[in-house]
Amino acid sequence: MLEIENLSAWYGEAQALHEATLSVGEGEVVTLVGRNGAGKTTLVRCLMGLHKQLTGSVRLDDRDITSLPAHKRARAGLGWVQDDRGIFANLSVEENLLLPPKISESAWSLDQVYDAFPALGARRRAGGTTLSGGEQQMLAVARVLRTGARVLLLDEPSEGLAPVIVTQIGDIVRTAKEAGVGVLLIEQNVRFAATVADRHYLLAQGRLVESLDNHEFVERQDELLEHLGI
């Protein structure tokens, strides 16, 4: 459903991404693994239309979205969870959830969200950033689920979180997958990636160097860890 072809991106003269081609299918969880500076965040920003110096194409459900502005991409079905979680401090927990428009029938209702994340329901009136780091991550994920996004772009969702929370995030990802949502997971946490993903792309110095299924990925985990320097 999400197809990226020959995507290259620049910052001024410096090329940050070299002809990346990858895809995420319906109900598929795909990770993008690479060390810091490999170009992972640049790729996500290109997908969201926030980085504009690029060539190549991005298609969502066979619709070319390469030149759409960010808010139209979101409405087309891309649900972005920023690496810093992107919770609005000036909005309450509930307002954070209600801010993005509903874009499809598969959108979660507020009740569904509060059932799945009781911690959010309990603090619905609190300021968004008064939540703990784990709760904020839950909120960020719940926020895009509430829109009914077709593809989730999760940027480092496990970073800095306690193992029990990471497990919970894994559960959410699997729930989304079951509902037919595609997930592109940006991760450095290879062990976490292995527990949820179907396929993996390795990104190094702006190039996709390998594409593996989860089986190969698990087998070569140690080698990859070393290779990536993670």
Binding site: M48, L50, A70, H71, R73, F88
Partner: protein, 290 residues
């Protein structure tokens, strides 16, 4: 004690102009990232419009309080559409310069048309005179100004906290890029928000008309104080603009009373102290000033 009450009322009345105009400045900065140098000129236009409408069609202050902000809203939206919009993708300095140039233009146009001595303004009789409070005569008009300012600030606060529009504006103010990536068309809100900010400056101008000299230059010093207000309150912070406005008004009044020559300096001393202690201002957030 009597004097203190009088100074307080005077400070709050002056602060009302600052709070209303700074509120507009804060909203514009928040959503557009534009430091609107022309805000003082828009305040001046509000006062001049009130005086001209009174003179030509006999429009009373009551009506002007509604009509002039509406006119300013339209004018502000035109300014955004025709001028400000084109520079938004560039360094914010360009819009600072644009609005600075716009100020010169507006001031000169008003001078050319209406001269430099200023325009007369008579307020409705109902707002003349004084009311006795605890044995002290307080001017009805100053109390009226404070009342209107508080009502408008309350209205804006409700608009910002209780409506979807307010929620979007708050989100766009805090992180415009993220709001866009979540499906909010921030660009759609830019024009009305700019117009709204300009309308608030115009409203402050109408309220000032019976109380201040209505001249082309009346906004020139006003804008400098406004900058101090928003820096003290925290750039882009709605609450900060209002609290900062009233605070600066009070500092000015008590400064005039107890250290006359330093009254204006004190405002900037306050600003320096706030910036040293809390660089983002009293109600600002660090990331909002980046």
């Amino acid at each position: 004690m009597n004097a203190v009450l009088q100074y307080t009322v005077q400070g709050l009345a002056a602060g009302s102009f600052y709070a209303l105009a700074a509120l507009g400045l804060a909203v514009i900065f928040g959503v557009l990232g534009v430091v609107n140098f022309a805000h003082g000129a828009f305040y001046m236009l509000g006062a001049v419009a009130a005086a001209v409408l009174l003179d030509t069609v006999g429009m009373s202050l009551w009506l002007a309080l509604i009509v002039v902000p509406v006119l300013m809203l339209v004018f502000g939206m035109l300014v955004e559409r025709l001028l400000v919009r084109w520079l938004l993708p560039l360094d914010p300095l360009y819009n600072l310069l644009l609005t600075f140039g716009l100020t010169l233009l507006l001031v000169d146009l008003v001078k050319r048309r209406y001269g430099v001595s200023g325009l007369p303004y008579d307020r409705p009789d109902a707002l003349d005179g004084r009311v006795q409070v605890a044995g002290i005569g307080l001017p009805v008009y100053q109390l009226f100004v404070i009342g209107v300012a508080l009502l408008v600030c309350l209205g804006v606060w409700l608009l910002m906290t209780r409506t979807r529009v307010g929620m979007i504006v708050r989100a766009a103010t805090e992180r415009p890029e993220l709001a866009g990536a979540l499906g909010i068309n921030v660009g759609r809100w830019v024009t009305p928000v700019f117009g709204f900010g300009v309308a608030l400056a115009g409203l402050a101008g109408v309220l000032a008309a019976p109380f201040r000299a209505i001249t082309a230059e009346m906004g020139s010093d006003f804008i400098i104080i406004l900058f101090a207000v928003v820096v003290i309150g925290g750039l882009g912070s709605i609450v900060g603009a209002v609290v900062g406005g009233f605070l600066v008004g009070l500092v000015e009044a008590f400064g005039q009373a107890y250290a006359p020559t330093f009254a204006q300096v004190l405002i900037f001393v306050l600003m320096a102290v706030v910036v040293l202690a809390r660089p983002a201002g009293l109600f600002g957030r660090e990331e909002a000033t980046a």
